[in-house]
Symmetry: C3
Subunit: 267 residues, 3 copies
């Protein structure tokens, strides 16, 4: 499924509006471009409605959110809702500050968020589980990540992607694990942000959000394996550049060859 979706995405060239953090916007824009999607970033509430009217999906990234952007974020979310466009929420370091947690909970309460994409400690924090995290790193969680993701999906009634060595894609009652990728992926700042934007891009061509999320994880992992082929684990800088090449050169067949998905059921 992920394989034909990649071809469809490259044909459809979906437009993804990113409320991006200011740390990784270039990396995310180049990554979406390399995948075959069309990125746009904005910092003006005045154009939010115009942009969402022609966009396929919205990503809200909490990485450097602040009060000045409140009108922008809410206008984007309102316009996404009005146009029936999916919203992907990336709760960067949501467990680190009460302010980010308030933003995340408010957005989840007021909008039909389609997908939440975070690392283990972010998803754990959102669903109230115990976790140790600092900064933007994943940290460690006591519980089985599949259970945390499944719980979070039920709690917020949406698709949850808990990304890591194994990516977990949960919807209420169903969990799919995507295995693959490279240890170099988490060593690049912005790889999580980019995965969130990939989910948004795939939502424009997938039959449902869980399928979009699985396709995004599969393609990211396959590109990461491809990019890491001639590298050792201590080359994150080279990897970040070569990942763009791999995303551009990736064939649907290659995705099918190297990615395993396993389905599980959770009550």
């Amino acid at each position: 499924m992920a394989t034909s979706l990649l071809s469809q995405l490259r044909q459809a060239h979906p437009l993804v509006v990113n409320y991006a953090n200011f740390v990784t916007p270039g990396f995310v824009a180049n990554g979406l471009n390399a995948l075959g999607a069309s990125p746009i970033m904005t910092s003006a509430a005045d154009e939010a409605t115009d942009l969402m009217a022609v966009a396929d999906a919205l990503v809200i990234n909490l990485g450097t959110i602040n009060e000045s952007d409140k009108e922008l974020v809410l206008t984007l979310a309102d316009a996404a809702a009005a146009n029936n466009r999916p919203i992907v929420l990336d709760p960067v370091a949501v467990g680190a500050t009460a302010y980010r947690m308030r933003w995340a909970r408010q957005l989840l309460a007021d909008y039909a968020i389609s997908v939440i994409r975070g690392n283990a400690s972010e998803i754990a924090a959102l669903s109230g589980a115990a976790a140790n995290a600092k900064g933007i790193d994943a940290g460690e969680t006591a519980e089985d990540p599949a259970i945390i993701a499944a719980h979070c999906a039920t709690q917020y009634d949406c698709t949850v992607v808990l990304s890591g060595a194994t990516d977990i894609v949960a919807t209420p009652g169903r969990v799919v694990k995507v295995t693959g990728g490279s240890e170099l992926l988490p060593a690049v700042v912005g790889s999580g942000d980019l995965l969130s934007s990939f989910i948004a891009a795939f939502s424009a061509v997938a039959p449902d959000l869980q399928t979009a999320a699985i396709a995004a994880c599969s393609v990211m992992d396959a590109a990461a394996e491809f990019a890491a082929e001639d590298l050792n684990q201590r080359q994150p800088g080279t990897f970040a550049a070569v990942l763009m090449d791999a995303l551009t050169a990736l064939t649907p067949e290659r995705v099918a060859t190297i990615i395993d998905t396993v389905e599980e059921f959770h009550d």
Copy 2:
């Protein structure tokens, strides 16, 4: 001409003040550095006048403009005018939102903009021609790009650079086409932003703005060909890094060898 201007630019080391978008400022700053110019970015209206007093040129990039930056942008433009410094306008995705179009038209009405640099759909949108574009991509235009650029130059009485596979540099009554470059150039987010800043840098050493624009296009295309020499068309990430090397290593002789310019006249 472009060849001797490159040597002059490296000697003069012109200071370019960039009102940059937040997606590509690092790429633009590194590119200006690699070319031999001196970049500075700012987000404070309080220092706009001080900066323009010592600067050689100003670039206004509409990529992520917003109302909070209004005083900053207008103060920069006022100071550029007061110091007789050229202003290069980069109307990123100007056709995508009414807000960006208002900004572009207001700046063109209130200031003597020296150069507009955009892709086919942006220049078409500015001059009211029909175009299909979404996001930051060039899209397709129905008309001959040379005619669109010539029309836009006459309409706003300035130099217009419509960049693409062939770059078109138009001033009222005159059109020059610069051929060269690499298909990898538009695959890198920020390559257009960087070209706009190169035009600003060359304006410090060129006898007139059209000559500055031709030099900037020639140098960018020559560096892109140089950088792409050992790459295939699916390596945009590697290309983005190697482009900086090529800009640094580029000799005036090499620019002369690989770039063709053709002059045309349009009423």
Copy 3:
């Protein structure tokens, strides 16, 4: 000393809060990551106190500071003081505008700044010496950099790092010179910003701030030499990527081999 501190840093994984400029945040975050530290950026005063409560150090970078961020910067600095965390000040282009100079002097007057890290013209400007600089470049100074740094350290009663071909680490009465690195380092925009963040990271594990600063300069210079090994002086783009690899692969032994430090005394 720098060698064992590198091992300690990788174990402690210190969290560095960066009030970053918007030009180089991705480069700084990736560099801190590659070193073994944990980066976080913020643009919300609302979370400043929460972040500093768990952070090891704060960096204040003046590269794109503005009035909207005043509350954010002061809240971060207050929280750093309340938690006894070191503050590293990076006075980017402080000599270029009166606005940046006011910010720098105000912060130095109101807070116990631990370390100032700048290039020759920035440190000269801060201590009132004559200097020629434009943009973000080092420019030229008339005086011996060691004397300028020593004077600045005494004037503001803190550690001063004047980085360049030879890095000078001054505290009142004592100057240490660190020799090494690569000519490619200053060709990369953000290498100074990154060094400031490295000093902050090392302050979490070093016995004192001068030792932290010497370790940061030594590690940066060693990584730069390592990264430049197979490159010529015209490859800044490749170097920027490979520097991340070198920081990741750098062993304490290697730092010890290639870096020389010389101590001097100044009244």
